[in-house]
């Protein structure tokens, strides 16, 4: 049975999205790039993938994840730039500062999108038409960062529909979805346009005869729960599509990791180990910057044959230093396949806060290691990243460079 129990409350969630974020920022920074097809990559190599493409490049078929060599064939005059994280972090902070003028309840979902919850804003702000507020935010971004900085704003009763609204009229839209306009907004979309519906979920929906967002909206909760998602996710989707909030959840940090696509196919195992060591140093620094120690290390390898190899190991006591992480990662990596490695990655898991209270026979040794590690971190904070690092990782700096992570704002 179809039930139209839409959330008919006033839309109070605003989603702000800087589309083609890095490319737009580069076009802002470099006026001569405006109106030209631009692609941003993390490294200067033909095998690297596009991280962001400008609208001009997208028009010719360039997309995120496409190899540079492929994009170059598709887009005449494509300008490829290496990503410049400090620049993007600056714009991210400017956007965040603008959003904070309206509510203390803002959430940055990633480096290029944020949410303002007006439900807990002041009365003065709540009394305003949120369309005007959205317009004001768009103008502030232009005034305070630059005239090329256009963004999309979506307003709706929940996070999901606000994001959907922000995608309706790219690249400079301002749209509202409420219970009266929900069906008409979904009419113009495909299933895959909905956040959270990719190939796999689309197939599941198709299997029960759901081919459009409207059919998805009209599906009853039982069908979604029992036949499509086979879990509570079905009920969540049923509520989400109707404008009820199910995504206001803060997830705890469970792992810290980094990966690296090797720059060449012909690296020796020792060369790969040096890059792995660099990743461990980076993971260790990130983990400690959040005041955590780890109990487990996970290492993976992807090969050119699309094979995926991984190993993990738990330790009886939490560990903290780069050396401890690398010692375990190297031990695990010794079991990895040695040929055709394309990508390596390392993560720390079972994160714990602060020092362990457990007494240990090696307490003094662990305390000393912690003090040395803290001193090195302090030096690196003061004089610049990787001022002090393991001799083993000399020469890897230009290769395994820190880039901006998508989907997380933890380290921005």
């Amino acid at each position: 049975m179809i039930r139209y129990d839409y959330n008919n409350e006033r839309p109070m969630i605003m989603h702000i999205d800087l589309n083609s974020c890095f490319a737009t920022i580069e076009q802002q920074a470099r006026p001569m790039l405006r109106g030209r097809p631009v692609a941003i990559a993390n490294r200067r190599s033909e095998h690297t993938c596009i991280v962001t493409a400008s609208y001009e490049a997208k028009k010719h078929g360039a997309s995120v994840g496409m190899k540079l060599s492929e994009a170059r064939k598709l887009v005449p005059g494509l300008i490829i730039l290496e990503s410049d994280p400090p620049k993007y972090r600056y714009v991210y902070r400017r956007l965040m500062a603008i959003m904070k003028r309206y509510s203390a309840h803002i959430t940055m979902k990633s480096i290029d999108e944020g949410i303002i919850d007006f439900n807990q804003a002041t009365d003065t702000i709540q009394r305003r038409d949120l369309r005007d507020v959205g317009q004001e935010i768009k103008q502030s971004l232009i005034d305070e960062v630059g005239k090329a900085m256009i963004c999309n704003v979506g307003i709706a009763p929940n996070r999901f529909l606000a994001k959907t609204a922000a995608s309706l009229n790219k690249p400079d839209g301002l749209d509202v979805i409420d219970h009266t306009s929900l069906r008409s907004a979904l009419l113009s979309l495909q299933l895959r346009d909905l956040t959270g519906i990719a190939k796999h979920n689309e197939r599941r929906l198709n299997a029960v005869g759901i081919y459009t967002p409207i059919e998805f909206l009209d599906a009853d909760s039982d069908t979604l729960t029992r036949m499509v998602f086979k879990s509570v996710l079905g009920t969540q989707w049923h509520r989400r599509l109707r404008g009820w909030e199910v995504d206001d959840v803060v997830y705890d940090m469970k792992t810290v990791g980094r990966q690296y696509v090797l720059e060449s196919q012909n690296l020796s195992k020792e060369d790969i180990l040096r890059r792995l060591h660099h990743l461990c140093e980076s993971v260790g620094y990130r983990m400690r910057s959040k005041g955590r120690a780890a109990r487990g290390v996970y290492v993976y390898v992807r090969t050119y044959n699309h094979d995926y190899w991984h190993r993990r190991q738990m330790s009886p006591l939490p560990f903290y230093s780069n050396q401890a992480i690398y010692a375990q990662a190297a031990m695990l990596f010794a079991q990895a396949p040695i040929t055709g490695i394309r990508e390596i990655g390392v993560s720390c898991y079972q994160l714990e806060t602060g020092a362990s209270d457990q007494l240990s026979l090696f307490g003094d040794q662990l305390a000393r290691e912690r003090q040395i590690t803290d001193a090195i971190d302090e030096i690196n904070k003061r004089f610049g990243e990787r001022t002090v690092h393991a001799a083993h990782t000399v020469g890897t700096d230009t290769l395994v460079r820190q880039k901006v992570p998508f989907g997380s704002t933890r380290y921005l």
């Binding site: 600056y90 630059g146 001022t387």
Partner: protein
């Protein structure tokens, strides 16, 4: 091509205005070691970046034909031209 960017480390002389508005410090023109003077017609973006605890301000500017990246070291009060981005017509 990536080669539209030329990486440099030239110490430059800069005429800048310190005032109000979006950019409190606005470089107006600069002179390169070869004597060439460049007049800035637009500041695309100014953003801070860090070398440890030392703050550098990066100004990405254009003279209308070429984009430049200037860096102001706030500790040493020196300006460097670190990138020149050109060759758009040949692309």
């Amino acid at each position: 091509m990536m080669d539209d960017e030329l990486f440099l480390n030239e110490r430059i002389e800069v005429v800048a205005v310190f005032g109000e508005g979006l950019n409190l410090c606005r470089p107006v023109k600069f002179r390169r070691p070869n004597g060439r003077e460049v007049v800035i017609v637009e500041i695309g973006l100014r953003h801070p970046t860090n070398a440890g605890l030392r703050t550098m301000h990066v100004f990405e500017v254009t003279d209308g034909g070429t984009d430049y990246r200037l860096e102001l070291d706030t500790e040493r009060l020196t300006w460097h031209l670190t990138r020149e981005m050109d060759h758009y017509d040949s692309l």
